[in-house]
Amino acid sequence: MQRLLKSADVTGWLLAAPLVLVLAVFLILPVVMIAVVSFWQATEFSIVPAFSFENYEFLFGSAVTYDVFWNTFRYALITWALTLGVGFTVAYFLAFHVRTLTWQIALALICTVPFWTSNVIRMISWIPFLGRNGIANSTLLSMGVIDQPLEWLLFSDFSVILAFVHINTIFMVIPILNTMMRIDRSLIEAARDAGASGAQILWNVIIPLTKPGIMIGTIFVLTLVMGDFVTVRFMSGSQSANVGRLISNDVGLLQYPSASATAVVLLVTVLMVVGLLLRLVDIRKEL
């Protein structure tokens, strides 16, 4: 027994065991369960353990699935592009224009203020702002910019994406800021010494060196948006759908096997996207 404990192999396994146990029970087991249930059958009032491809056949046979998946991708891509634009700019400002560390920390903390309330409340607070008689419309009307209320401000793709950007930009800011802070400032000087203009420094030095941070932020935002269902439901006024809502509807109707099948397809899709991203940029040096 003594000798067994001394062996490096055994110690290693023992040290890893708690984490393995936690992951096994709370991650692997549920995923396996979902995968198993996705092959079961269901009627209006019962769930029957089986091994049938019925759920998948229905899923892939329906045009709605493709529409909803396309919609999910669309939300994810647009949100990604906007959060990247805003996040990169904010991080760039914090990292290169704010001079003292104290201010950098203070301003980065201000970026997290939206997180002090719940997701749902943050979304709902847009409604009085964007609604037909909301602040935005009444301001524009009184300024004479428009002569009737804009209908597309709320319960539209616009409001969905607005909320996504609002909620997720921080996940872009933090990893990008983190990589930018690690860029050796003498590299910027060396580039300037070599005659690079501001734009050239940005393109040839800062962006390439920030890629790992951009990639981590991208993974955060894409996975969060693709797995979301609350935002789409609230902000589209239940008029738009994404895969998350498909699953939540099935769950609401107690159609667990069908929900599981959709979840499995979504999981595989997201994993493929992440896998592709990881092939593009090596983020290991960041972790």
Binding site: S186, E189, A190, A191, R192, D193, A194, A196, N204
Partner: protein, 325 residues
């Protein structure tokens, strides 16, 4: 030698926003084609001076002239200077060749031409074989060669080196300094080299500029500065000197000019250090003055002393050198 590319600092002052003065009214002429070392302890203003010449720091007052033209307001790349950074500042995402070709890329030189030119520069520093590597795959000495090639590709009239050898191990440091000297002689341009190591400055410099608390303390050829320090600071900083307070004033005397003798100042040995060719003997003389004597090893061991022994120290009056401050 190209001639005419003298670099001149005219009453240059650097004051920071908080009021701290990094460089106070410094004027100096750096002759074209010479190897100059800016020498001083950390915080003396030597790096700020270099960075102002490079254009990475704005000057508060005064001007900097290169070849007779005021360059103080020009951006770094248009001054005719190039800088080699302390940590080399190689772009980690670019290969060695791309690093060297960076400034040409910024100028819009097409790829074939800039790679050819980068190849030539790499040949100059003997790094052709590693052109495709990334900086992280190079040793410290190799990184330095790449940084040199990158700075030289812009054909500068003045190369500015910010403590270029401090990141290297002692053995490599001696090899690289020979290399720097060779390059400077071959290219015939001015090198301005910031260092806090007096041995480095003595080995390399045609001219040494000693700085202390934001001012130039003394400038001159390496031999002059070492043999005839004008101030107590220079004498102490260059090392190998004793500063003696005699009734006639303060004097410097080289430690190797002090010898043990039958007649002379009474002193008590406080430490003995064997240094190979010499033995460094420190003795305390009247008035609590510590005097260092470098005694040839053979001579010392003919009549060895240990701490606590009473000795007499003597020197030729002619070797005493009066200090102005």
């Amino acid at each position: 030698m190209r001639g005419g590319h003298d670099l001149e600092l005219v009453h240059v002052t650097k004051r920071y926003a908080g009021g701290a003065v990094a460089v106070a009214d410094v004027s100096h002429l750096f002759r074209a084609g010479s190897y100059v070392c800016l020498l001083g302890p950390s915080g003396c203003g030597k790096s700020s001076t270099l960075r102002m010449i490079a254009g990475h720091e704005a000057i508060t007052e005064g001007s900097i002239l290169l070849s007779g033209k005021d360059v103080s307001a020009l951006p770094p790349a248009q001054r005719g200077t190039a800088m080699m950074f302390q940590s080399y500042a190689l772009f980690p995402h670019l290969s060695v060749a791309e690093n060297v070709a960076f400034s040409l890329k910024m100028k819009g030189v097409d790829k074939a031409a800039r790679m050819r030119r980068a190849g030539e520069m790499l040949e100059l520093v003997d790094m052709t074989a590693l052109a495709a590597r990334l900086p992280a795959q190079l040793s410290g000495g190799q990184q330095q060669r790449v940084a040199l090639a990158r700075a030289l590709i812009t054909d500068p009239q003045v190369l500015l080196l910010d403590e270029p050898l401090s990141a290297l191990d002692p053995f490599l440091r001696i090899r690289m300094r020979a290399e720097l000297k060779r390059l400077q002689r071959e290219l015939g341009i001015s090198f301005i080299h910031v260092t806090h190591g007096q041995d480095e400055a003595l080995a390399l410099a045609d001219e040494i500029v000693v700085m202390n608390s934001a001012r130039i303390e003394q400038a001159g050829s390496a031999r002059d500065v070492f043999n005839a320090p004008q101030t107590e600071f220079v004498a102490r900083f260059m090392g190998g000197h004793n500063v003696l307070a005699l009734p006639q004033g303060r004097f410097a005397i080289r430690a190797d000019a002090v010898r043990l003798a039958a007649q002379g100042a009474e002193a008590v040995v406080t430490s003995v250090e064997f240094q190979g060719a010499h033995v460094a003997l420190t003795a305390r003389a009247a008035g609590d003055q510590d005097i260092l004597a470098l005694i040839p090893e053979e001579q010392f061991f003919a009549d060895p002393k240990s701490p606590g022994d009473a000795v007499r120290l003597a020197w030729d009056e002619g070797r005493l050198h009066r200090l102005s401050a």
